[in-house]
Symmetry: C2
Subunit: 660 residues, 2 copies
């Protein structure tokens, strides 16, 4: 294995790559459905290995021997020369020898490779991205109106065939393989350490920008929690008249954290070369549209008018999402009302009184599952052009619903029942017990289950020597050697859970952020518990992504998308809830017994407006991007503009020379 | 005169321009101080006409004959070939034959001139800008430590000599001349019409972007007032229970207007080629710093660290401005208190009771004058790099102060005295009487005074045939023919008032916007009076700028700067004031007599939050730039990036060929 890796990593296009025996590092594994037809499999594999001019992707394909694994599985890879060529086409940005970040071109290969470091130009996640990009870009030609062999699965011209096959279930899954060696090096630096800084650069190289940004955010947020945590401790020691002061401090802390995170985020995006991502970038594989020339780049790409997406969003999705939110809210109210009603009947035993809460918890779980599918379906139907847009609109829909589920019952307790003790108790339970359970559920249990099942699966794979895939003959596709370690790895990782995107992890932080800041006036210890949890969370998330899940597909991002605004909304809301909680606090009112209740409330309305105004001023006063990033971007723009001017000038000079 | 203009306008570089008799159109007139020393005048004039390599600006200078005008006055112009060369250097953007807006270059001259239209490439305002740019870019060399002949006026290396001389009063004024012919054509289309659309493109060509944008804004705002006006009429007919509904409608109208204006503004900026203006553009003439290589462009320009500006802004200016605001507020309170006090003394006659109001009005006037100078001084001292930054920070300071002066007394009447009748009366007076007076003051009075003084001045200029300037001999500078019509024009326009920037006009609209929307709950007719005034204002402003004032210097802008945020702040504030006014309205409370006063107020607090939330959602939902502008910008960026890539690739190919 080490020999293969060494060769795979080298830049020289060795003749070994043409050798039958040799098969470079697997970047993507494709597992077909168990009932796949021979002709369909052959068609897909041909598409992958065919010349690019003929609509293929010109990648190298090997199949797993029929003796390993249940379903027909192929490994996809590419030569390093070809990877570089596609990287140029995809305009992947790399740092050149002078430290300038710019789009890499083949002509200048030497300008980008640092001979001293002997490191590779393309990172592990980039190679994976390139191969996936090529696979997803195999598009249906105009005569291909359905998946070959399945007339019931229609295709339209320009549709991504791989994505369609996945959607129809013809292909069971597509996943990249872990690199054992990298993970072995990463582990001790990351999840086996407890308080050392995270190896962010390695995370990015291996998992890509999207996941690296999540861990950056988690780290940044955890550090930002230190101040509210200190406030919380101080608040416990001080008399209650200091309460408003701490609340204000907490809110300003949260606002500053979000503003500075935006700055940090744009710094990272600049360094990672993703800051110039826009909605005019290459569309995502699932983007539906007729093939046409792109207005911006002039390339042949699927085109669809943006106003249709807007129409769908505002006329259909928005009302439906609101309806779902109202539905969830009504369900919550019902559970409260029924519980209240039951409580009033004297003969009923206690356990029945808690019935509605249990039913509600189960309902929430089911509703969440259903809504998640619904939101994904709606967003897919809206047909957003880029992955970032898609994620942003999907997350927005989900967050709105989760907000109702996670916070509405607390609002009910705080402002309708007005039982502050109950609220404090609930917050404590949610922050201490639920977070601990979550951590276990995320890392500990899967670990145990995995260990148990892994051994079972080993037996399984050796037991069923002859599987269904043996029946399928693929012409022109060689088998991988049976002693290759990748075979067992592919089978084992194929059975792992899929880590789709960091949505669930962000959601956890979002809910926690809400618990900490929305009610900081009544439960000052929240920040401490959140901090303690996050210190653990960093390591357990790291562990789970390295060891429990399939290796996730790398994705480029420039910011945390809809989460930024979601956190900001919670922060703005926390100004209101805290002022409301303060104004209803009897211990605080005791300090001003002579004030009329109207004046008392208006005082807190005033405080709230001042705080909201302060947030707005902070927002304006702290620029999105640090000075150095703005200068660097301006410099890049200026250089590009000069080059364009020069190009035009030389063109017109040539024209003048030819027709004087 | 028509001959001169025709020649000046033609593109062919005729030999006439070298001719002694011929002197092309005057772009800028420089009038020296009456006590100017011979050597200083010679030094300045030499600087202007000297070669650019020797630190001059290579422009053509002629002096006015000593018989015309009081002070030594020179006319500055430039050949059309040179204007084009500087235009290329300044990266002025023009539309080429294919309609693409891009930086013009000399090599591609033919690509930019439309032979069918026979129109000139550079507009009147652009030529003026180019000449002014060259004049302002005459910078002190390292041995020039003071203005020649005035050791008491120090210079630092790289300081703009012309700006310094203006500052020290060595030069009395620098102004462009009006083009009679253009104004004669513009008038009937603009200020002599009453309801036809304004000739925006002509305004821009003649007065430049800054003033064109003001008139665009004025037109847009006036049209936007139609809906609140209609609401106002309807509100008068409906019972008072409909009041909240109209208030909400008004606020949403105002918010939409501001959001759509931002879009409109970015469209205009794109079409005008100013959308890519940034804070990294060439610094303004008054920017102080040591000469150094610019980080972005690599050009030799004055450099000063930005953090110093920030330090000055936040540590000095901000506290001082707040202090001034508090001062103005205290003065206002004092006048109210004294009036109240006087009212309570029974023997005092009525006219003395109004004394404090009169004294307050006079004080406001004086404070305003002093504060304006103070704010300009502070902003200059903060040393902002670009004119846009300077304007933005100056306007912000001024607006904060004006807010206290214009609105605080109304707030006092509305929320402290709670005399709604008085508030309504004051609003009516301010909107009807004061606006009418303003309009007269702006256009009518100056017209009468000008007519009267103009005749006087004619006599004056012919009477004093031998003036002080006769004593000064300028070597190498020819005189303009005595019969040239420009001589009298220069003298007459030199005496006109200076229209510095549209600050006062924007301020008028800002105050009006506040009167209309802040208190729309009590005075629904405000929108009508504002609309009526603005229909007049468009024409009176047009007249005054064409006929009453010196021709203003053209300035490029991409938006209305600090005004956008000022209007937005008023709009947000109007949500609060209207909700507060509604909640204190007895007629509305009569509809819900059973509600406790606390609940009643909380209801309006809720309404206010919903409206503020709606504004935020509108802000997010309406993009800053229309789709087509974003596509066009993305296209430009993409092309530039491709050109840079190509340039780099060909460079490295050449390198590889030379050292294989």
């Amino acid at each position: 294995m080490s020999l293969r890796r060494l060769k795979g990593d080298s830049h020289s296009i060795s003749s070994d790559e043409e050798n039958d025996q040799y098969f470079p590092q697997t970047y993507i594994v494709i597992e077909f459905n168990s009932k796949i037809k021979q002709e369909t499999a052959q068609w897909v594999v041909d598409k992958i290995s065919k010349d690019r001019k003929k609509g293929g992707s010109d990648l190298i394909v090997r199949r797993q021997p029929a003796t390993v694994g249940k379903n027909l599985t192929v490994h996809v890879t590419s030569g390093s020369q070809q990877l570089l060529e596609i990287a140029e086409e995809m305009e992947i940005r790399k740092r050149d020898r002078h430290g300038v970040l710019r789009e890499f071109t083949m002509h200048e290969l030497e300008d980008f490779i640092n001979p001293a470091e002997k490191s590779e130009l393309l990172s592990s996640s980039e190679k994976q991205t390139i191969v996936r990009h090529e696979l997803e870009n195999i598009r249906a030609l105009n005569h291909e109106i359905c998946v070959l062999g399945y007339p019931e699965y229609p295709l339209y011209e320009g549709q991504s065939i791989l994505t369609a096959c996945l959607h129809y279930g013809v292909i069971k899954q597509v996943y990249p393989l872990h690199e054992e060696e990298f993970i072995r090096k990463l582990g001790p630096k990351w999840y086996k350490q407890f308080l050392s800084p995270q190896p962010y650069e390695d995370i990015r190289i291996y998992f890509g920008e999207s996941i690296a940004l999540y861990f950056q955010f988690l780290g940044f947020y955890t550090r930002a929690l230190v101040v509210p945590m200190m406030c919380g401790f101080l608040q416990m020691l001080m008399p209650s008249s200091f309460l408003p002061f701490f609340c204000i401090l907490n809110i300003i802390c949260a606002s500053m954290f979000l503003e500075f995170w935006r700055r940090k985020c744009s710094e990272l995006a600049y360094v990672w070369g993703t800051i110039s991502m826009t909605s005019f970038d290459e569309p995502r594989a699932n983007f539906r549209g007729h093939m046409g020339l792109d207005t911006v780049t002039g390339k042949l790409l699927p085109q669809a008018p943006r106003f249709k997406t807007h129409m769908k969003m505002y006329c259909v999705s928005l009302p439906l999402v609101v309806l779902c939110m109202v539905g969830a809210f009504v369900v919550m109210l019902m559970s409260f009302w029924i519980e209240d009603y039951l409580r009033k009947i004297p003969e009923i035993p206690t356990w029945i009184v808690y019935g509605p809460s249990v039913v509600y918890a189960i309902l929430i779980y089911i509703m969440n599952l259903a809504y998640r599918k619904f939101a994904t379906f709606l967003t897919e139907w809206e047909n957003h052009r880029t992955q970032s847009q898609f994620d942003r609109h999907r997350v927005t829909k989900l967050v709105l619903f989760e907000f109702v589920n996670n916070f509405m019952s607390l609002f009910y307790v705080a402002f309708i029942i007005r039982d502050i003790e109950l609220l404090r108790y609930q917050l404590a339970v949610l922050l201490i017990v639920l977070q601990a359970i979550n951590n276990c559920q995320e890392a500990l249990f899967p670990l145990i289950i995995l260990r148990y099942f892994k051994q079972g699966s080993k037996v399984d794979s050796t037991a069923s020597k002859q599987t269904k895939s043996a029946k399928i003959q693929l012409v022109g596709v060689k088998e991988i050697n049976e002693d290759d370690s990748r075979l067992d790895q592919a089978v084992a990782e194929g059975r792992m859970d899929i880590y789709d995107d960091p949505y669930d992890d962000y959601l956890e932080l979002f809910v926690q952020f809400g618990y900490v800041f929305l009610f900081s006036a009544v439960y000052p210890m929240a920040a401490f518990w959140a901090f303690a949890n996050n210190v653990l969370e960093i390591r357990s998330d790291a562990f789970k992504i390295c060891r429990i899940y399939q290796r996730p597909m790398a994705r480029k991002v420039k910011d945390i998308g809809a989460w930024q605004r979601s956190f900001q909304a919670i922060c703005a809301l926390s100004v209101m809830t805290n002022c409301a909680l303060l104004s209803t606090s009897p211990s605080l009112k005791a300090h001003a017994p002579d004030m009329s209740s109207t004046m008392w409330y208006l005082l807190f309305v005033l405080l709230e407006h001042l705080l909201l105004g302060a947030r707005q001023i902070l927002h304006y006063a702290i620029p999105d991007k640090p000075e150095w990033v703005r200068i660097a971007l301006a410099k890049g723009n200026y250089k590009a503009k000069q080059a364009l001017k020069l190009q035009r000038a030389s063109k017109s000079r040539r024209k003048n020379l030819s027709n004087p």
